[in-house]
Symmetry: C2
Subunit: 333 residues, 2 copies
DNA sequence: GGTGAGATTCGAATAATTTTCGAAACGGGC
DNA sequence: GCCCGTTTCGAAAATTATTCGAATCTCACC
């Protein structure tokens, strides 16, 4: 099919006026070829249907995701895929939910080769980290579930500021009794809760510990804890949710009691996943630039194959408040 | 690092008691090696850290998605990734939104090799199909936007039945004035609308053409058309949306007018994406087994490298009605 | 401007791997 | 048994990768 077969390297070497060695070296990304010579040879090689291993860079990168259930992942995938496409890199998406799954992935990845891994997981544990290092697979962690150590490169967002922004927004609207739902299970969750506390203290408001609820970052978790908050005698007039899924759950709990957002209770989410604007009412939320995070993580991965030492090891992107329709001043103000 | 470097092929050949040629052939999936010899050599090769090209099967498959904005894609990715993982295959996800983008993907894919492509696009056009064929890349289309021809393998769902199920459910609840929002732009949309018509006729109900609205499968589209439906003098008591995004938009339009689902108007979605259950009220919808579709498509791809001829070329998975809280009998019944 | 240590670039020689091709072994059908 | 086609294998040839020394360049230092 598809015409004549590829000519041999020596034919190409002749055409380019260099030795076969040089051509071979260009083909596999060898180092000792001058830039212009390399370019000339590479062009010829490609012309004849060879693929040229670009000396820097790689063909595929891996994105490891713990669970592919939240709209979260979608944004991340999009960010990673698009950033990678610009660099002519393909992204392999894998779900990894157990150490065994990780091992299976690692096995496949080292067989086929990979330029590096972006992890969005309940962390690769120390075992996994060792294996990655042994297989010489670079790693960047997105939204690290534990405080990122110096040994691991990671990308996150300003969760603490985000928690503050959300709470401050409500305080500025005039709310005083503000509930919060979150999780202590991951680092980012702890930071968001701390942001809430900081904003309350800053405004001179007392923190009622009954108003601080912990649960999973799911709609069900949000609904369960919102029910408890709403059942309090001094029910909050506003609720800060741990993420948008929880916020959806809060909206459901409100509807159950015949309450309306934002008339009766204001709600702030966290993430700004695409569906946040589909909610009724459209959700006021703290925007995490998920796609940008993934893109940044990819660039970290690809950028510093050379300069690992002097690059920053943890990058934090800014969150921002997106005001939609689920927040308003409290009743009677 | 990591211990000694890989021994040469001739060393391995010696260890296995065969010629270097045989070892080389096993390494690249050559054909003329007996099964047991191959196994022995392969084991040794792997032991020494070589990767062995499995002669059947492939290492990566490509999933091409038009837009990665809907919760749609997430389910599909999950299905494909999980089915592929079972077959020890990695899935490369790429967004392709233009012919140029397709060309760039094809370029990369043919460089690095791929076992085949799963497409969820506004179709690869005939040009693209030719190029795929030229590059010998097998193809399966998911949810084909045009009536699937005999030349293309595809996986879809029973959209016509789905449209019927949704409409029938509302009729059985007692609704008579039922609006529908959908799209004629894609084949599945046309089938769903036809299902609506069929169910109405079956029940002996007249179809008011003002009740049949067309718009994009987005929340904005759903909101816009729902506004029009609700503005009618004889506004519908129930609305069948073209997908879940549109249904979210319908819920917003209802809230705008101070109406409540399902008390004032019942709403049925289509897809059953994970967020459907987060809506307020939780969305009654037609479940498309998106993950199963992607998994089936992957199996089609991998299954019949041999038996292309006698396999079915279009597979249709069943939709089912998922009743949640957004539908109820009409007021006054 | 000279000098020399070190880095870069290159290709001949050498090593390793892949491919070709013919021979040996096998398996029925007649 | 004989013939014909098929499978399996490895020696030889072709191709590709790597090593290493020579040539050239760079630049600090005198």
């Amino acid at each position: 099919m598809a015409g004549s077969r590829a000519p041999t390297l020596s034919a190409i070497a002749g055409e380019a006026g260099v030795s076969v060695s040089a051509v071979s070296k260009v083909r596999n990304g060898g180092t000792d070829v001058a830039a212009d010579t390399r370019a000339r040879i590479a062009r010829l090689l490609r012309q004849h249907g060879y693929q040229v291993a670009s000396q820097t860079g790689f063909a595929v990168a891996d994105l490891l995701i713990g669970c592919l259930d939240s709209p979260w992942s979608e944004e991340l995938i999009r960010g990673a895929v698009e950033a990678a496409a610009e660099a002519e890199v393909s992204v392999i998406v894998t779900t990894v939910s157990s150490p065994a799954g990780f091992a299976r992935w690692l096995d496949r990845a080292s067989r086929r080769g990979t330029g590096g891994a972006l992890c969005v997981l309940q962390l690769p544990g120390s075992q996994e980290l060792q294996r990655l290092a042994a297989a010489r697979i670079p790693l960047v962690v997105i939204d690290p579930p534990e405080e990122p150590g110096a040994a691991i490169r990671s990308v996150g967002t300003t969760n603490w500021q985000g928690g503050m922004q959300a709470t401050r927004h409500l305080i500025e609207l005039g709310h005083r009794r503000i509930g919060v739902i979150g999780t202590e299970a991951v680092w980012s969750g702890r930071a968001r809760l701390a942001g809430y506390r900081a904003a309350m203290l800053e405004a001179g408001l007392d923190i009622d510990e009954r108003m601080v609820r912990h649960d999973g970052l799911t709609a069900a978790g949000g609904r369960a804890q919102a029910r408890r908050l709403l059942a309090l005698r001094d029910a909050p007039t506003a609720i800060v949710a741990g993420n948008d899924s929880q916020a959806f759950g809060v909206l459901q709990a409100l509807a159950e009691r015949g309450l309306r957002a934002p008339l009766d209770v204001s709600v702030v989410g966290f993430d700004d996943v695409p569906v946040a604007s589909w909610a009724t009412p459209a959700l006021t939320t703290i925007r995490q630039p998920l796609a940008a995070m993934a893109a940044a993580a990819f660039r970290m991965l690809s950028g510093d194959l050379a300069a690992v030492a002097d690059e920053p090891h943890h990058l934090e992107l800014a969150t921002s408040l997106v005001i939609r329709d689920s927040t308003a001043p409290p009743r009677g103000r």
